[in-house]
């Protein structure tokens, strides 16, 4: 759907150029919900704004539906933008227009006849659950309702892609969940490709199918959400993932464990089906180690179960080696945790 090729963006500044993006390349598949994650300043906002050329890239290509946006004329670009919806952190609604007027706005821009505009607005209001707010002005709406107007407005021209620039960052957790579930419904029912920029890990966990991790202006990792959660490769992704599963072991506990020379700590992660296997039972039977569970969490990444266990294995070196072999044989991801 969208191919990003070697994208770079440099902001010239007197004190030396600022590189916001450097050689970023990845593909956003049709129908996916693609999360772009990174700490603030990593370049993610610049990246999403390059996808509809609100920000003109310094180099590279943005290919949407087969056309390289960077090579289009002003007029062609305006037409291409009508097929790329966008919603914003601060909603950016027109204060002087009602809810209906705001949703009608892109249709007016595109020159749609008035009666068609009316019927399209009438279709969109129930889709975002605002039937009773058609005549209200943005100042009379809550943040969540404003973002719903933003979504309806972005969908008015039946776009192929919806870009979300920190769309839930200004909302409370409950409203965030309702907006995310609305986005997921739209993704399913309309087959719309959605690109989400966020610094909130749970947004990625809750609805994204794929994720790209930006760090220091570069794309350090991109894969399906399950892959990144199970085996994050980059340091940033690891921090993000451990942040959300809170698998930090209290320092005191670590020090206490150090005194036992015959034990080791391992972190076992499992995805999906493995969660239902009697793994602990098998582990003890196959290797005769003593197992204590220090920490455990089972969460879900979208619909896939994702578990994370911190185990202390006590036994001879031979027994522990067997234990490792068993765990690896179960298709589990095993990582030895150092005492430091």
């Amino acid at each position: 759907m969208i191919q990003i090729r070697n994208l770079s963006k440099v902001y010239p500044a007197r004190s030396g150029d600022v590189r916001a993006l450097e050689g970023v390349s990845f593909d956003i598949p049709q129908g996916s919900i693609y999360g772009i994650m990174g700490l603030s300043g990593a370049g993610k906002s610049t990246l999403v704004r390059c996808l509809n050329l609100l920000e003109r890239p310094s180099g590279g290509e943005i290919i949407v539906g087969g056309h390289d946006l960077t090579k289009l004329s002003e007029k062609e670009l305006r037409n291409a933008r009508q097929k790329i919806g966008m919603i914003f952190q601060h909603f950016n609604l027109l204060q002087s227009r009602t809810v209906s007027g705001n949703i009608a706005f892109p249709l007016e821009i595109a020159g749609v006849p008035a009666d068609e505009i009316r019927s399209r607005v009438a279709e969109l209001l129930p889709l975002v659950g605002l039937e009773d707010k058609a005549g209200a002005y943005p100042s009379e709406l809550s943040g969540g309702q404003k973002q719903r107007v933003g979504i309806a407005r972005a969908l008015a021209l039946k776009p192929d892609v919806l870009l979300c620039d920190e769309a839930t960052s200004a909302l409370d957790p409950k409203t965030t969940r309702s907006i995310l579930s609305l986005l997921r419904d739209i993704n399913r029912s309309l087959g719309l490709t959605i690109v989400i920029i966020t610094h909130e890990m749970h947004v990625i966990k809750d609805i994204c199918t794929h994720v790209a991790v930006l760090h220091d202006s570069k794309c350090v990792e991109n894969a399906t959400v399950e892959e990144v959660f199970l085996s994050p490769k980059s340091q940033v992704a690891k921090e993000f993932v451990s942040g959300i599963f809170k698998a930090e072991i209290p320092e005191e506990l670590l020090r206490e464990l150090e005194s036992h020379g015959d034990s080791e700590l391992v972190r076992v992660s499992f995805l999906g089906g493995s969660a239902s296997e009697p793994m602990i039972n098998g582990l003890i039977r196959s290797s005769d180690v003593q197992v204590s569970i220090l920490f455990g969490s089972v969460d879900h990444v979208r619909t896939t179960l994702f578990g994370n266990l911190l185990l202390e294995l006590r036994g001879t070196e031979e027994q522990r080696k067997k234990a490792h072999e068993y765990l690896l044989g179960q298709n589990l991801s095993v990582e030895r945790v150092s005492y430091e």
Binding site: L54, R81, Q82, N92, L93, S96
Partner: protein, 223 residues
């Protein structure tokens, strides 16, 4: 008070009020015809806006600043040859409108500029993301969103122009200001002076009240 006194006072006031209204209306309309597009141009050509062209903004800004720094009475006299060229004479009420417009149009441009700059950049960006052309952004986003602020700016402009018209007597423009000088000051008619000032106060109040009321009704925010 005798009927004769009232009649003579009305005889003095009526033409002066009409001249003032004519000058204010004509110059306010003309200065918006010129100043509004200039104000829009100042905003849209500024850095980071929809058609950035910093040299346009700088050149225009400099010209506006020069025109605005000349005191109106000086500008009016200096423009006499120009006025004669435009309307054929440099004396009379219509002749006074020319320097009024030259003075008010740059003022309007700045007032419009500051109103349009209040619009959050995100709203403009949202319109761009939908594929709006610069022209569509101007008449569907900038002007409607700034409507209430533009109305307040118009009230300020009109009040300013009312002040300028007091000096129109210098080129034979007539009006309330001229009446106050000719009768109230030169002929020691304090009563004429007081009534003239009272009428001007009523004018200014009326314009400001109407402006504020229209601005509030155009505003859809709870601020």
């Amino acid at each position: 008070m005798s009927d004769g006194y009232i009649a003579s006072m009305l005889g003095l006031l009526t033409p002066a009020v009409l001249e003032t209204l004519y000058m204010v209306a004509a110059s306010a309309v003309m200065s918006y015809v010129i100043g509004l597009p200039l104000g829009i141009l100042l905003v849209v050509t500024s850095k980071g806006h929809i058609v950035p062209a910093p040299w346009v903004e700088r050149t225009l800004g400099t010209i506006i600043n020069i025109l605005r720094s000349a005191p109106f009475i000086v500008l009016m006299v200096a423009l006499i040859p120009f006025t004669r060229m435009v309307i054929g004479t440099s004396i009379g009420t219509t002749a006074a409108v020319v320097p009024l417009v030259v003075a008010a149009a740059p003022f309007v441009a700045r007032v419009v500029e500051s109103s349009l700059k209040e619009i959050p950049h995100g709203v403009i960006e949202a319109a761009q993301s939908m594929g709006a052309s610069p022209f569509q952004i101007i008449y569907k986003v900038l002007l409607p969103e700034a409507k209430s602020s533009l109305i307040l700016g118009a009230a300020i402009t009109i009040i300013n122009v009312i002040g300028y018209t007091a000096m129109a007597g210098a080129v034979g423009g007539g009006g309330l200001g001229d009446l106050a000088i000719q009768y109230g000051y030169n002929r020691f008619r304090t009563d004429v002076m007081i009534i003239t000032v009272a009428v001007l106060v009523v004018f200014v109040q009326a314009v400001q009240t109407l402006g504020t009321r229209l601005a509030v009704s155009a505003m859809h925010t709870k601020r």
